[in-house]
Subunit: 132 residues, 2 copies
């Protein structure tokens, strides 16, 4: 098996230039969200210390918190064995990563009886983003 050289970590030649990036709360270990990065958003993340993703829906850089103010300060950057997934340890400002107002986007547990909301709602999306 070949290994990527240090200079190609992460390897944006994989996955059509978009790699999954997991954001984890640096203090609690809670997994907050998963989004995608391209080389440009990754470089800006390293340069600014704030998480910048690439929005597949909008096809542009997504500076996390640009609307809500809920910026993610990067406390650590990790790459997996295959160099095609990124893990960020972050300090989540505003207490909520999810646009629905929950601390974590993974606020629903799948139980034998169906999905159940287990997450804590920190803010009202209508107040933060305006009513839609």
């Amino acid at each position: 098996m070949s290994h990527a050289s240090p200079t190609s970590l992460p390897d944006f030649s994989r996955g059509d230039g978009l790699l999954p990036a997991i954001a984890q709360d640096f203090a609690t270990g809670e997994v907050l969200m998963m989004a995608y990065m391209n080389a440009e958003s990754y470089a800006e993340t390293l340069a600014t210390g704030r998480a910048v993703y690439f929005s597949r829906g909008r096809q542009r850089l997504w500076r996390k918190g640009e609307e809500s103010g809920n910026v993610q300060l990067v406390r650590g950057v990790y790459v997996d064995c295959d160099a095609d997934t990124i893990l960020l340890k972050v300090e989540q400002l505003g207490g909520a990563a999810c646009h629905e107002g929950y601390r974590s986007c993974f606020f629903r547990e799948i139980t034998p009886d169906g999905p159940r909301v287990v997450g804590e709602r920190v803010f009202d999306p209508a107040q933060v983003y305006g009513k839609k």
Copy 2:
């Protein structure tokens, strides 16, 4: 914004039928790995209580631990706000999720001086998988 109905969680109609699945140690919170699931592997995961992924490289179900014995016992299943990412909380048998022998696949930290191995190596891959 529309919300997926409970019966469509997770929504395998997205992402060409493959959704990212994050495995997190249920006890320590450590993020162990990220892989992909299709509807079949997800159903088998729920039915058996063991993590089953879909290997994109091999284009078949990947019963985690089928070669190494390092099975993941599922302690919780979560889905994100967009219903297109899965989070598993698992008990990692054998102490290592990564085929390179580390507890976590995210064993390298990106530092200003380049990648640095920070993870703990639990086993020697050559002994577990045979020399290649």
